[in-house]
Symmetry: D2
């Protein structure tokens, strides 16, 4: 875990648990999204403000490995690292770990880009500068 | 059921079922919302277009009675009726019934209004006219 | 607010916000449910353990007033009080308040009972005793 | 598309749309899950019944490419193919396509296994036989 790793801690909410008695797979995507949004906010990037300016931060690819399951009552932490892949792509390396026994529950690489009003990938200067700060840190 | 009753039929999706093995309560609100939106669309009212014009159709009150539970594999129908309560309020009378045995699962009165850009209740002429058509029908 | 009031604090997650730019109505039910579950857990009542024992704690009625809206970035608190209504019914009086300006966003009375394996309302001794402790406190 | 391709058609529900005005990424996982469950049901495999017997059908990996976005009002179809990868793994090849213009919205390979009560991968005879029927067809 490098010094740029962002950590978000939370607990399972019972409505997130499905009929198998475990947190539904789609909920891990909710966790990852929330972790990404609060992470980039600490970097000065507000997901929703960029939307209002006409730039959409969107995922283009997810690679997800399900290693275990969270249950009712579990606390967990989501770690997030950001790396620049190319001029137009950046990847969030994310993991979900159960706190009670440090078990790795889920590992994902969520790759993103920024789309302008014409639907084309474009990372505006200001955003690029903020992202670059992390990458070189 | 009067001739203005709108019926939407669907089946339970397993991710909607929670750790008790029944559809989570909050999901009935999802069903009701979707039923309202497709109902008013048949009347020429597009929820999202009104949002883009600066008018928000919003709930102000819900009265909900939980009579039974839907489970994995159940098919159900949501019936919706609209009645005008006052110049600024309209009520959706909604019910969810399981199809296999016609059991009543949920009954709700969801009362709504329309909010303008200043955050004040206001039902524009055009919308009022569309709503009135139902009420007198 | 009496001394039995339970408070749960959290922040809006962006995936809870819908196309109107506000937290979707059904999400308030998620918040209320989670607040109830962690509240009764502090009283020694584990929702899921009772399920495994064959007793389902279920809502029978909700009365909900929508007073305002939460948005992306908002922090909020949910307050919960429990009162016994009858031998077989108890009510959760719940409110959601935005933290930045203390604005009341939502008020609800969520009435619950306990259902045994035969589908009949029954509150077992042990559960009744735990609930009664609050009521007389 | 081979003759074993399963197709599920549906329309976007407004509560699935997030503050960017597009269907939230996590919802595609809901769509895929529902499509898988109704597909395997047509093969005689009931996800929930196997859970009750002590066998959990679970995802172990997802590879997801986001090609476009669904919006309010869109109808879409989810296609699903099943292929056996090894004695203990099977893959669902899934796609989401918008109906109005046949645009490909999302492509995923969701790899699954079956876990027994001891938490070990095990595909019981009966289940293996049902899965094999597809693979050779």
């Amino acid at each position: 875990m490098n010094k740029n790793t962002h950590i978000w801690e939370a607990e399972v909410r019972d409505y997130e648990v499905d009929l198998q008695g475990i947190v539904n797979n789609s909920v891990y995507f909710n966790y990852y999204e929330h972790a990404r949004h609060i992470y980039i906010k600490t970097l000065g990037i507000d997901f929703y403000e960029w939307h209002l300016k006409g730039y959409e931060l969107v995922l283009i690819h997810s690679d997800v490995s399900y290693k275990g399951s969270l249950k009712s009552g579990d606390s967990f932490c989501v770690t997030t690292n950001l790396s620049l892949i190319s001029r137009l792509k950046f990847a969030f390396n994310q993991q979900i770990t159960r706190k009670s026994d440090n078990k790795l529950i889920n590992v994902a690489i969520n790759t993103a880009t920024c789309i302008n009003k014409n639907g084309r990938p474009e990372i505006p200067e200001e955003l690029a500068a903020l992202l670059l700060k992390i990458a070189v840190a």
